[in-house]
Amino acid sequence: MTADHQHGSDSPATRTEAIEALLVKKGLVQSAAVDALVERYEQDIGPLRGARVVAQAWTDPAFRARLLEDGMPAIRELGFGDNTDAHVARLVVKENTESVHNLIVCTLCSCYPWAVLGLPPAWYKSPAYRSRAVREPRRLLGELGLDLPADVEVRVWDSSAEVRYMVLPQRPRGTVGLSVEELTGLVTRDSMIGVEQL
């Protein structure tokens, strides 16, 4: 028997109701605020912000330079970077090139750039991704459909503290003349984590 008495054997849904009731009773949370935050996570905070940042960087060299220098002030220029990520020390953006491919992971928990990408997808938090991204990133990327040439260096960023990382993917060929809005629509969440190329 482990020290599981306070965790019980009820379903997670029942246990969640119990812990919510306790936190409300103790005055730490209000249920209406929880409702609102869940809705906000699901609808407002998502990878569209990151896609907009990437499109801006592709079309505005001065912005790109500021973004690569220090991510958080740059995304604030676009109206992002609110208190979603208030505790983080820095947002660091890593640029993919012909010779360098960047990949983001958190082997310790699930650190992720909420301010630009929202909440992480389930696979990012999975033991399989967290264990393998640092040990065999080429093989892992190959399984996900991205075969990198041997002469492309792979840089894996293990977000082990309060610095958050985002990948600036390479702009796809044949997109000259597209507007920022059209380019935004081309940018996927997974390309900003580094498990996909555009």
Binding site: E20, V34, R155
Partner: protein, 191 residues
């Protein structure tokens, strides 16, 4: 979990719901509010997740771990009638310190080989390994002490670059570098 074997392929599904079950979204929001209201700081919350029995850690899934941590912290801290002390603000972990950073970009360092019972942000796979300082960040709250009420004791944070062969030996993939954010106490100067 860095480097562990036995978890198989990554199951990446397109258009997966953010919270496949409703309780998962509530746990996510509850944790955010409870931390903001002073139940525990973020480091103590992460440590509560790490203190789970290993079998439950794997079996309960991601938000299941958060739920377990909330239950643990509530049992430890909300038992009596005393009110929880609300933090002044939940803001950045960056802190001003009146000393210089010990290392500069390009310096060779070796990580310490400690396996503490408590919380730390030095991944197990990067202990007693040589790397190069890639970037110097501002001093930040030190999670190792902040997680168990020993205080913030801020330390400089560095991004350290490790060659994959230093971490994984002969069978490491070629042309791979792993960058890890590490606090100053974890590092010592080396050749």
């Amino acid at each position: 979990m860095g480097g562990m074997h036995g978890f198989g392929a990554v199951d990446r599904r397109p258009d997966e719901a953010l919270f496949p079950e409703a309780w998962q979204g509530r746990v996510c929001a509850l944790a955010g509010y409870a931390i903001g209201a002073g139940l525990a700081n973020l480091d103590a919350f992460r440590h509560a997740v790490e203190r789970m029995p290993a079998d439950r850690y794997l079996a309960d899934g991601y938000y299941g771990r958060w739920l377990y941590a909330l239950e643990t912290l509530a049992a430890e801290r909300l038992g009596g009638d005393a009110a929880v002390e609300r933090p002044d603000h939940v803001g950045s972990v960056v802190r001003e310190v009146d000393r210089e950073a010990r290392f500069a970009a390009g310096d060779a360092v070796r990580t310490w080989n400690r396996h503490p019972q408590g919380h730390t942000r030095l991944p197990g796979y990067a202990r007693d390994r040589r790397g190069l300082i890639a970037e110097v960040h501002p001093a930040c709250v030190y999670p190792d002490t902040n997680a168990d009420s020993r205080g913030e004791s801020p330390e400089y944070l560095y991004t350290v670059a490790f060659d994959s062969r230093e971490l994984w030996g002969e069978e490491a993939e070629a042309g791979v570098a792993v960058y890890i954010d590490l606090f100053e106490p974890y590092l010592e100067a080396t050749e």
